[in-house]
């Protein structure tokens, strides 16, 4: 069940149908397109009751219904009574219509963006929503316990002990992206501002994902590696061994009080194997089918989907030589704060002397490695 941010509730004056339908459509789309999610079930409506019959709901049907709802909502905000009275390209130059379109689309992005982030990095990231210019403060309790002393029987109090809560703050930064289309190329059907806009939104999602990932990498880089083969007391090892991997998983589970998992790219996770060279897997085995074992030594193995490195074609961004050991059900390692709504600024078709049309999206977010949990790292050779 998706959570609709408070500011969207205010914007929509409590009318949530557009957003719940959009999330339903979004989950349906992901399911149909094979974007699987092992962590949580993709919930969406598959059927609806019409009288005594049960009607199946296809993605196509839902899309048409949603587009109609979207048009109606935009028309309502733009104060347009009869949308069919003029052609769409004429309405496109109406300032009210244009404002309403981007305001409603922006609010849809704000609803679905946290959802996509939870799907991609939710195992180790908590997504928080705030108002524009908000900052986030986290109270961190000490995980130390008090010392217990043996004592005589004639004394009321022993020596006083106490500890203190700490605090860590997270602020957000503005992130901008501007796309531009040439009017003549738009009219000739060679460019589309809408297409650039969709790409801009995907770019924002990707950038957030990378911020989160690099915060995880940087946070765990601070862990020292043991100087000898003895890993006792350490949470990071250089070079995989079965014994050390199990030791770190045990440590993370014990201190967090929640089960640990191994997390890495498919390439990295394929190396989590028993030390004994006599192990066997046949062609039907989980390892041969998936490229990794879903459970190893009683610890679940989860895959981080790789991310393409757009600056270096055909290279990948996530380090395939790192396996993280985390407890997803304890306090998340990374906090992602998103403040304010997505703020779109768009030109009208004839605003610019050079007949171009630009759209800028402004989005504020910040990422921090802030947690009460512990985690480990295995650096593969």
């Amino acid at each position: 069940m998706a959570v609709i941010p408070e500011r969207i509730m205010k914007f929509s004056q409590g009318k949530t149908k557009l957003y719940t339908n959009f999330i339903d459509l979004f989950h349906h789309y992901r399911d149909v397109n094979g974007i699987e999610n092992k962590r949580r079930h993709l919930e969406y409506m598959k059927t609806k009751k019409v009288g005594d019959n049960v009607q199946e709901l296809s993605l196509d049907y839902k899309e048409k219904k949603f587009n109609k709802l979207l048009q109606d909502t935009i028309a309502e905000y733009a104060n347009v009574k009869d949308f069919s009275s003029l052609p769409a390209e004429v309405w496109a130059t109406n300032p009210n219509y244009k404002w309403a379109t981007f305001a409603v689309v922006g609010s849809l992005i704000d609803v679905v963006l946290p959802e996509t982030m939870i799907d991609s990095v939710g195992l180790y990231t908590q997504v928080l929503n705030g108002d524009l210019n908000d900052s986030f403060a986290f109270t961190l309790k000490s995980d130390d316990l008090f010392a217990v002393t043996r004592a005589g029987k004639g004394k009321r109090h022993t020596e006083v002990q106490k500890d203190f809560a700490g605090q860590q703050t997270l602020i957000t930064y503005e992130h901008d992206i501007t796309v531009q289309a040439s009017l003549i190329r738009v009219l000739c059907g060679q460019e589309s501002l809408a297409e650039f806009t969709m790409k801009a939104i995907r770019s924002i999602e990707r950038e957030m994902n990378l911020d989160v990932y690099y915060a995880l990498v940087k946070g765990l880089e601070a862990l020292p590696t043991p100087p000898t083969a003895d890993v006792n007391g350490f949470l990071r090892i250089s070079g995989y061994t079965q014994k050390a991997a199990m030791h770190i998983a045990d440590t993370v589970s014990a201190y967090n009080g929640k089960p640990a998992i191994f997390l890495g790219t498919r390439e990295a996770c394929s190396q989590i194997l028993p030390d004994n060279a006599n192990y066997r897997y046949d062609i039907d085995s989980e390892f041969a089918r998936l490229g990794y074992a879903q459970t190893m030594f009683g610890t679940d193995v989860m895959i981080m989907p790789q991310v393409p490195d757009i600056d270096n074609k055909y290279k990948l961004l996530l380090d395939p030589k790192k396996i993280y050991v985390i407890s997803p059900s304890s306090d998340k390692l990374i906090k992602l704060g998103i403040t304010g709504a997505t703020r779109p600024i768009t030109d009208a078709p004839y605003d610019n002397a050079n007949l171009t049309q630009s759209a800028t999206f402004k989005k504020d977010w910040g990422v921090g490695f802030i947690t009460n949990s512990i985690a480990g790292e295995i650096d593969l050779a």
Partner: protein, 181 residues
Amino acid sequence: MANHAILIQSDVLAKDNDSLNKNVVATVDIDNGFIFNIGAIATGRMKDEEVYTVSAPLADGTDKLYMAYEPELPQLRIGDEIFKGVDINVKNFTNYAGDEFTGFKLTDGDLIRISLDGIEGTYGDTMKYAIPQAGKYNLAFSADKPVTGSYFEVLKKTFISIGASFPSTGRVDAFKLRFVA
């Protein structure tokens, strides 16, 4: 910004005796765990009979030492603006000049735990004592006890726990001290 000292009154006589706890005011910022002599009654105050001025320890060892200990409620100060309840980090707490705070009279045998930020100098195994410094409010590590006057014995190097984000343990270096008068 440098951290301020943190104090835990492990076992002190002032815990059981009202008269050993005094309301004081200083002309400089005083961290918990700083030491001072109590002077004249502060003037120009509504409750002037109950608030005393303080002065730094003397060189001749004749001090009747009190130690600052005020419940830690950090303030956020930006220019002339003061905000309370925003920051909870005890490492940011100090008793600001001009604000009333509590000092307790140190008594022979008192046990305290104080963070490293409250003691001047570099700690090493030879540093067996934390001694008053003439004209200064904080203690200093010393290999020797002072010729005259009171001082603290360093009983143990330990820590004070403050919640912190992993991978920090949140443990702040601290020392268990025993007062000798």
